[in-house]
């Protein structure tokens, strides 16, 4: 062996061997790298979206109650809150006024939300508002998502009239949401409840749904059952269901994308099988020569393993780096539309990585481990053959 010990020597030999067959090594590395990139990018994006959805769950009501008529959600009366307020463990029942308005200029919906008088002010909360101030009740004012304001060409002080079945006031823009909350508010218009009712066509005393806060959130399921007893036909969604939907939604979308990638994955499996099924005559002859000049079976296996490790390490490193850059530095162009959604008013905020060291190591281990493992089997088969026999073919 050359100076430096057997591993450095074998590493140098493995690198030289790869260089002699560089066309095959590069093709294999590119295929593996692209597959890692695609799978990692979908995982990075999915985990990031789930984390963002979970971030806003602190503000969710414990239980949401909607009225169903003919199987479809409809408005309910604020009086419906009274029998529910008497349920043990219920701290408060809040009728909420909100809904969607289609803006022809955008060819998309905006979400109009009525804010109750007495809601905590957003003024002074760092990052909540990008420009302007919080709205005042009774002044026909609104706060809008920054994407909505930008698309509509609205500046602070401008007014906006929204299409409505009833006469509704023009709303003056007094503030836009900050980038910290852009993911949740890009298409939102906050105004006071009276204005929201006028725009959405709700009568006084009507509400879109009821938000129930509990003294003990653990009792949400029990309370949900009691609500259905007291309000037959109601649709009750508890906080755990609200939270679970995002896990399901992005799990399913990620699954669909993986399904679409099946041809690419099959191609990689074929490549891997090609490695495991056998070696080329040249490679067999090379192993025979190595044994003839004094390499042990262990040395041969180690050299082949290092070859596979070099390809897999380089390809996995490149795949992970490209996936990360694609999703978090470039904003996942191409992938975002398929996995995230189809909003007209798209939030401009860059996504925050939820991936941690353990997940990165997991992806690397799941790629490198099988790839290296598959390379050892044919090398062992060739290494146990007598050198003369192998050279004769």
């Amino acid at each position: 062996m050359t100076p430096g010990g057997p591993i450095p020597s074998l590493l140098g030999f493995a690198a030289g061997s790869l260089w002699r067959r560089k066309g095959r090594a590069i093709a294999l590395g590119i295929g593996l790298g692209l597959t890692v990139m695609l799978v990692a990018a979908v995982l990075f994006l999915t985990e990031s979206l789930r984390a963002e959805a979970a971030r806003a769950q602190t503000g969710l009501p414990d239980v949401v109650v909607q009225r169903l008529v003919a199987g479809r959600p409809t408005v309910l009366s604020e009086d419906d809150a009274k029998p529910l307020a008497g349920i043990d463990s219920v701290a408060a029942v809040r009728p909420r006024v909100w809904g969607y308005v289609f803006l022809p200029a955008l060819q998309g919906n905006v979400t109009v939300v009525g804010v109750r008088d007495g809601a905590p002010s957003l003024d002074g909360i760092s990052g909540a508002l990008e420009d302007g101030r919080d709205m005042r009740h009774g002044a026909h004012e609104m706060i809008a998502g920054s994407a909505l304001a930008r698309y509509m060409g609205l500046a602070i002080g401008d007014t906006l009239g929204m299409p409505s079945a009833r006469p509704s006031p023009q709303l003056r823009l007094v503030g836009t949401f900050g980038s910290a909350v852009d993911l949740y508010t890009a298409d939102v218009v906050l105004c006071d409840e009276a204005d929201a009712r006028a725009i959405l066509g709700l009568d006084p005393g009507q509400a879109t749904d009821l938000a129930i806060d509990l003294k003990n959130p653990e009792e949400a399921r029990v309370v949900a059952g009691t609500v259905i007893d007291r309000m037959p036909g109601a649709r009750v969604v508890d906080k755990s269901t609200l939270a679970r939907i995002y896990t399901l939604a992005y799990g399913r979308r990620a699954g669909l994308i993986f399904a679409a990638c099946i041809p690419a994955l099959i191609a990689l499996i074929v490549l891997a099988l090609d490695r495991s099924s056998g070696l080329s005559p040249d490679e067999r002859r090379e192993i025979a020569i190595l044994k003839a000049v004094g390499f042990s079976i262990r040395d041969v296996l180690l050299a082949r393993m290092l070859e596979a490790l070099l390809i897999a390490s380089a390809a996995t490193a490149a795949g992970l780096l490209l996936a990360y850059a694609w999703v978090f530095w470039l904003g996942a162009p191409g992938l975002r539309g398929a996995l995230v959604g189809w909003s007209v008013l798209y939030p401009q905020t860059k996504l925050t990585p939820a991936v941690d060291l353990a997940q990165l190591l997991g992806i690397a281990a799941a790629t490198v481990g099988p790839f290296v493992g598959l390379s050892i089997v044919p090398a062992y088969r060739a290494a146990i053959v007598e050198p003369m026999e192998a050279m004769r073919g």
Binding site: L11, A15, T58, A147, P163, L242, A317, V355
Partner: protein, 106 residues
């Protein structure tokens, strides 16, 4: 150690280096995002739900967490509907344009 072996060792070190750099970058970005928590906590109670504003088109559900569970025509139990019920019917855009024009004239 030969130059080839040194280069090969560097290639092997690329994977742990990339993993380390990405983990550190992700941690730093998460810390910056966590610092924005008070703003999210202040705004989210005013919204119907904590859903992301990513599907607000005419056909796609804006608040799937509230609209999907037990929906009348969901594709499966607690499964978000990729093509929501009613999506085949376009909204009455012409009527809304007329209403918007009437509103502006007033």
């Amino acid at each position: 150690m030969t130059r080839t072996a040194t280069r090969a060792a560097l290639v092997l070190l690329a994977l742990p280096a990339v993993i380390g750099v990405l983990a550190v970058d992700a941690h730093a970005r998460r810390a910056r995002r966590d610092a924005q928590g008070p703003a999210i906590d202040a705004v989210s109670p005013r919204l119907p739900a904590g859903d992301l504003a990513l599907s607000g088109g005419a056909r796609w559900l804006r608040f799937p967490s509230m609209e999907e569970p037990g929906a009348a025509f969901a594709d499966g139990i607690a499964v978000p509907d990729p093509d929501p019920a009613g999506g085949a019917m376009a909204p009455p855009i012409e009527a809304w344009i007329t209403a918007a024009a009437r509103e502006r004239a007033r």
